[in-house]
Symmetry: C2
Subunit: 152 residues, 2 copies
DNA sequence: CCAAAATCCGAGTGAAATACTCTGATTTCA
DNA sequence: TGAAATCAGAGTATTTCACTCGGATTTTGG
């Protein structure tokens, strides 16, 4: 039950792009330095984000990446989908590998529900939310879940 | 973002134990046959479930496994914890590997929240819920999420 | 126009996690 | 006493992950 490093790295990079929204493009060099991410790895990640339309790139001198939508219009769900693919908590839920059993399978209905819930929740969190949380270091140690960010 | 096969298999096995709650113990042979799970693998899984107190075993002839609590008192969370360990969506959240950065890390607050949400939700689903869902094959195709099972 | 700065692209590699096996010991009961 | 079951721990195979490499392409500054 883990999100891959690709998604974590990708999210971090997108955070700095969000800060610099509407400014100059940011290069892989800068991004990887800021977040201590191996350059060639981040390069791949940014490519995938571009292919999925979350980000756009400009070549050559002074080039780099820019967000393609406003931070509040990019959800964690999109990011994770772009980098890890759609969430399939168990292999049977993978749309490309339709399972044979299916009927009467005791577990698939639950996993499907949890899966759905997770996607919903990730869909409700945007890059703006992430930025808000970063600079508001969990005040008071109460349950952060019902803190600042909207909760189902 | 996957649950391991161990957890999926374990859940299936626990389902049949739930059906036979308060009856004769069920052997690995029976369980693995019913769910098409490789016997020696399931053996390991049942051992772990016993070590975590979800199940108890009786040796020798006619032996096998029994639930140690009523089905409505066993949550998905417990099961997943027993077999996959506590949920740590990103490595930084793993309590055994406390991260150095932490302060000002842009992503960890969000992942922590999602992590918490997930645990909460899995904690709210019990073996009874799973059984109910199994024999009620998603009537009407509506959003199953707010169907029969309690939702946050 | 050219060289430097950047992204693009596809293939390839090493390590780690996962999924599962094997062997033998131990307990129980007919 | 021996068959049926779990127990225990080490071992192996496969897949996924995390990351690299080499070279092509695009853009811009000088
Ligand atoms: S085994 Fe595939 S749906 Fe359950
Ligand atoms: S890198 Fe460890 S908390 Fe963010």
């Amino acid at each position: 039950m883990k999100v891959t490093r690709k998604s974590d790295y990708g999210l971090r990079a997108l955070c700095t792009l969000a800060q610099r929204y509407n400014q100059e493009p940011v290069s892989i060099g800068q991004l990887s330095a800021e977040h201590k991410i191996p350059e060639p790895f981040l390069e791949k990640i940014m490519q995938e984000l571009r292919e999925h339309g979350l980000v756009e790139a400009t070549h050559g001198r002074g080039g780099g990446y820019l967000l393609k939508k406003r931070p509040s219009a990019i959800s964690l769900r999109e990011i994770v989908h772009a980098l890890d693919g759609p969430i399939a908590l168990v292999t049977c839920l993978d749309p490309s590998l339709k399972c044979a059993i299916e009927d009467g399978c005791p577990t698939s209905p639950v996993w499907e529900i949890v899966n759905q819930k997770l996607e919903e929740y990730l869909g409700s969190l945007t890059l703006s939310d992430v930025m808000d949380l970063t600079h508001r270091p969990l005040s008071g140690e109460g349950d952060r879940v019902s803190g600042k960010v909207k909760v189902s």
